[in-house]
């Protein structure tokens, strides 16, 4: 039995969602990127560029199009917000040799973006080193306006933070139907971003890794769909 869609709301209603952290406002985009209007900066986490070629080097020939797909998606959201700075929150490359394996066309695409905006690589556990060939500035982490931008979230941190690393995903069940999608997860102090890369999977926000970060105060979840970013009540979420 096929149930057709009810009448649609306007698509733009869900394209991005406002959120605030440390008194600053942000926009959580349906692509999984976070725009910071005050800084004119676009933040993305866990690009995992060159994951396909990392597998190919080990004999599993995954399609070599992940880097171009990820960069093309990134270029589109940069355009949408007219961002001037891009901050990649670590694990930008699947491994430290990633930049060397990039196809010339993909390297060119990255360079083109970098010509139009300032590019900051935050180091991650997959890419503790990023060679200069990748362009941009490499930093261990970044502190802006009282907010720490880093790869791994740290439960002991005093300041507000925006991090990646965990690839959060949520599972929602409505009227007997289930959907599992990447998501933003946060509370007033901390935001963990979804992984942006084309080949990245997700970890359920109800798994133990998220517990120490969000404690008893609860978490807010924004799930990513094909046409929007949706705030979802945490009581609707379920474990895998």
């Amino acid at each position: 039995m096929l149930q057709m869609k009810p009448d649609r709301l306007g698509i733009d209603e869900f394209q991005d969602q406002p959120m605030s952290l440390c008194g600053k406002s942000f926009r959580a985009d349906m692509s999984g990127a976070l725009y910071w209007p005050g800084e004119r900066a676009l933040i993305v986490a866990d690009l995992h560029l060159e994951k396909g070629s990392a597998f190919a080097a080990r004999g599993q020939m995954l399609p070599p199009y992940d880097t171009r797909e990820t960069l093309a998606r990134l270029a589109r959201v940069i355009d949408r917000y007219e961002a001037e700075t891009v901050i990649a929150l670590g694990d930008s490359f699947h491994d430290s040799h990633g930049p060397d394996r990039m196809m010339p066309e993909d390297r060119e695409a990255l360079r083109t973006i970098q010509q139009h905006c300032e590019w900051i690589w935050v180091k991650g556990n997959h890419d503790p080193e990023i060679s200069s060939g990748a362009g941009g500035v490499v930093v261990p982490s970044l502190a802006v306006e009282g907010i720490t931008l880093c790869h791994e979230p740290d439960e002991g941190r005093d300041s507000h933070e925006i991090a990646g690393h965990l690839h959060p995903a949520a599972r929602v069940t409505m009227n007997g139907f289930t959907l599992r999608r990447p998501c933003f997860v946060g509370n007033g102090r901390r935001l963990v971003m979804p992984a942006f890369g084309a080949y990245t999977g997700g970890l359920n926000v109800l798994s133990t890794a998220f517990e120490p970060l969000f404690g008893l105060g609860g978490m807010n979840v924004w799930m990513l769909g094909q046409e929007g970013c949706y705030p979802v009540a945490s009581r609707l979420l379920s474990e895998d």
């Binding site: 039995m1 995954l62 399609p63 409505m174 007997g176 999977g201 769909g225 979802v232």
Partner: protein, 854 residues
């Protein structure tokens, strides 16, 4: 054809005319007062000339002994000198359990004849030490599965191992051919022909099939595939006693819809009591659970009744099988897991609940009762709803006529070819020219083009992408002599871990935990222990909420939650489980039976054989709407409950109807009929919408001829499929078989979901950037044949061109009632994912904007 068949068998019926059995074997037959059967002698005669042969024989005809007899004869005589390891006979069966069974059955005659022949099995369960020894010092007769043959062939010593091979026996060939496992087997046979010192004789054993030609071609190398199809020799055994099949008829009317046959449970139970051992066959695992529950509900005498289906834990299944063999069970409720081969015991009745869906499957299942050829098999057919009465009648007539379904022939799968190519490379460097010729000698691949073959080789080497990114990581490299070799020994290790064509859909173990553990769980303690009941498809568990009850492993259980990759459940005392609906495991109605059903429907004279309520139902249909002629399709439009329905009755099986439903809704959407949903079953489909389709047709706004135009199988199908989860599923399987995605292995496995997740991502990226990639092509072919029945739908659309009979009605028609009753029973198979999120978000907003203080 029949004349020829009869002559061949009668020629050999005079014992000893052409063939003299060696004394040891002849005296063994005499000691048991047995006569070699005509087809056994015919096979011996063919074997004397080393002719590859297909033996078609019904169950119980001594097929297996016939298959081995030539080998026993030759091994009892002076053997030719060893050129290799000394393996003479290879027996390949689709089932592990069958190899063990055959080993046991062979041991007796070999011992009694005093022959010195070593026989061993080799399956995934065989110990590593033994498997290694078998490669160096094999037995004379090795009993194994297609996967193991592929693995043996991938070792560098394969040529030595198989040098002495004289005979290959392929059991249950009808079940293997025309599947990916059959493709792999065909390629392996081609390989064996190449590497054995002289080409071995192939003996195929098969149940009765409609088109033996395909199986005959399977057995022999196709030396000039462009010019002619080579066929093996054929021996057909005399059919045994005709089966006694009856359809259960009760005074009570058969229900309009449903599949549980609950109305007939007392009569089924009464039948069990009258027989020694009964198999109750059903079509789906969930039906098995239901019927099992129902039988126990009425089991006043506490008859031992067992349950057997594919989701149950293997140990539990073995127990049931042992109990059947030991004669301690009186009945077993089973799915297709008991269809094949093995003699589990003295079964004297087969009950078939629900219509059998295919003439061949039905014949096979009836054959399970009485594995003795000269006694008739007894079967009782129990239709579960009204349409099934027609279908059961058709199946019965087919059984009486000895008719079989014709399988559509299919081209060998490319993912399997990729796996095989890598396997060949692992055994040693290969010349692409020679391998191409070898592959084409396997009948499923005889139409393979050189260009496609080269793409497959390229895929194996570098992934075969339009973007040549992975040359430096190539798995196959030229060896300087025009051949390709593997680039690294690691490649061979990877191959061996991933070989095989059986890709399980992700499953979840189900564990039964006790009350105490559960109480602990509710207090937040981790759940430990619990007995494993079996495995269930992940997608099913995904939809359950804690507290939901379902029937599983013969009990009603309550879903409590998940722990890692296991679901834990507790015993429930609910009398009516929330019955889950399995999408898998339902066979669509076969083309042959469908044709018989259509014919029966069209011919009023034949309604007399139907039970009175069913005949009256058809009379009503004739009065209020119409009965379609045999070559027509009936399309009805009518309003009901503020909705407007369009119902069609193609009788082409569920898969084809679902595909048709998807495509019709797309088209109706375009013509402005505003369709809202559809439902399909084996007989027809109903689409409902917001606009009056009768009026649209009358006004010429909707043209049924255009609506059912065959061109829907072009762009509409492509557009729908591209984003469909069906494609993703088949892509995952093709990607695993072809070696693009690694298989999960015990110990170091990721959860099934993670794998599903990543292949979906890979699929999306590949479709966007390399739409012509060979794996997408392979997945499309699999989806079109396996899941959508596109070919069948195409034949239907062509057949009914200009033969659509439209009835515009004021209310629902009698014939449509069973179909409309399925609305709400079938799970929603497709649904906009976006809507789930949107609803969840709106729910949150409603909550946020609710007045406070509530």
């Amino acid at each position: 054809m029949t004349g020829k068949r009869a002559r061949r068998t009668s020629e050999t019926a005079s014992p000893g005319a052409a063939i003299r059995l060696p004394d040891v074997i002849a005296s063994w037959f005499r000691a048991r007062r047995w006569q070699p059967r005509p087809h056994q002698l015919a096979l011996l005669e063919a074997a004397a000339e080393h002719r590859s042969t297909l033996l078609i024989a019904p169950t119980g005809a001594g097929k297996t002994l016939a298959g081995f007899l030539p080998s026993l004869v030759s091994l009892s005589q002076r053997r030719s000198e060893k050129k290799g390891a000394g393996l003479r006979v290879l027996y390949v069966s689709p089932l592990k359990a069958l190899t063990v069974d055959i080993e046991r059955n062979l041991a007796t005659p070999i011992a009694e004849m005093g022959l010195k022949i070593r026989t061993e099995t080799r399956t995934g369960d065989t110990s590593v030490a033994r498997r290694q020894r078998q490669r160096i010092k094999p037995p004379e007769i090795l009993l194994t599965t297609p996967e193991q043959v592929a693995l043996l062939l991938s070792h560098p010593d394969a040529a030595y191992l198989f040098a002495d091979l004289e005979t290959v026996i392929l059991d249950e060939l009808h079940a293997l051919a025309a599947s990916k496992r059959g493709d792999l087997l065909a390629l392996d046979l081609a390989r064996l022909n190449t590497i054995a010192a002289s080409p071995p004789m192939m003996i195929g054993l098969s149940a009765t099939v409609a088109r033996p030609t395909e199986l005959r071609a399977f057995l022999v190398p196709q030396t000039s595939p462009d010019e002619r199809t080579e066929l093996s020799h054929l021996v057909v055994a005399e059919g045994g006693a005709r089966p006694e099949v009856t359809i259960l008829e009760l005074d009570e009317p058969v229900p309009w819809s449903g599949h549980s046959a609950r109305y007939a449970i007392h009569e089924i139970y009464a039948a069990l009591q009258r027989h020694r051992l009964t198999i109750v066959f059903v079509n789906t695992r969930m039906q098995a659970e239901l019927v099992f529950q129902e039988l126990w509900r009425v089991n006043d005498r506490n008859l031992p009744i067992g349950l057997h289906h594919g989701s149950l834990d293997a140990a539990r299944r073995r127990k049931v099988e042992a109990a059947m063999a030991a004669g301690t069970l009186r009945a077993v409720v089973a799915t297709s897991t008991l269809d094949l081969g093995i003699d589990w015991g003295d079964i004297d009745l087969v009950v078939h609940v629900g219509a059998p869906k295919g003439a061949s499957r039905f014949a096979q299942r009836i054959g399970r009762a009485n594995h003795r050829i000269d006694e008739p098999s007894r079967a009782l057919l129990v239709p579960a709803n009204r349409f099934e009465v027609l279908e059961c009648r058709a199946a019965l007539e087919a059984a009486e006529a000895g008719a079989q379904d014709a399988e559509l022939s299919r081209a060998g799968a490319l993912d399997v070819l990729a796996q095989h190519t890598l396997g060949v490379a692992c055994s040693g460097p290969f010349s692409p020219d020679a391998l191409f010729a070898e592959v084409r000698s396997a009948s499923p691949y005889s139409a393979l083009s050189r260009a496609t073959f080269d793409r497959v080789v390229d895929f194996v080497a570098t992934g075969g992408y339009a973007l040549r990114a992975y040359e430096r990581f190539a798995k196959l490299r030229p060896d300087g002599e025009g051949r390709l070799r593997i680039a690294h020994p690691r490649v061979a290790q990877q191959y061996r871990l991933n070989a095989g064509t059986i890709v399980e859909s992700p499953v979840i173990k189900v564990r039964l935990v006790g009350k105490r553990t559960l109480a602990g769980h509710r207090k937040g303690k981790p759940v430990q222990g619990g007995r494993v009941l079996g495995e269930i498809d992940e997608y099913f568990i995904e939809q359950l909420e804690p507290g939901a009850t379902f029937a599983f492993a013969g009990e009603i259980v309550r879903f409590e939650g998940m722990r890692d990759t296991e679901a834990f459940v507790s015993r429930s005392n609910a009398s009516d489980p929330m019955v889950p609906s399995y999408a898998g495991g339902k066979f669509p109605l076969s083309t042959h039976l469908a044709m018989r059903v259509r014919r029966m429907l069209a011919d009023r004279d034949r309604w007399r054989v139907l039970p009175a309520p069913v005949a009256q139902w058809l009379e009503l249909q004739a009065e209020h709407s119409a009965i379609p002629a045999e070559d027509e399709v009936l399309v009805e439009t009518f309003p009901r409950d503020k909705r407007h329905y369009l119902v069609a009755y193609p009788f082409e099986g569920r898969l084809a109807h679902q595909t048709l439903g998807m495509l019709l809704t797309r088209r109706l959407e375009r013509s402005g009929a505003r369709p809202l949903g559809f439902v399909a079953n084996d007989y027809g489909l109903a689409v409902w919408g917001a606009r009056d389709m009768s009026a649209m047709i009358a006004a010429g706004d909707l043209d049924l001829g255009r609506l059912f135009e065959v061109d829907m199988l072009g762009d509409d199908l492509d557009a729908w499929l591209a984003g469909s989860s069906l494609m993703k599923r088949t892509f995952r399987i093709a990607a695993v078989i072809a070696g693009l995605i690694e298989r999960r292995h015990p110990g170091r496995e990721k959860s099934g979901r993670q794998v599903t997740m990543s292949t979906d991502l890979v699929y999306d990226v590949l479709r966007k950037h390399d739409p012509g990639h060979i794996l997408l092509e392979a997945a499309w072919a699999d989806t079109a044949t396996g899941l959508l029945d596109v070919a069948r739908l195409g034949e239907f659309l062509n057949r009914i061109r200009g033969r659509i009979r439209h009835q515009s009605l004021v209310r629902v028609s009698p014939l449509s009632v069973p179909l409309l009753l399925e609305i709400g029973v079938e799970p929603v198979s497709q649904r906009s994912r976006e809507d789930i999120l949107r609803e969840a978000a709106l729910e949150m907003m409603r909550e946020a904007s609710a007045p406070t203080g509530q």
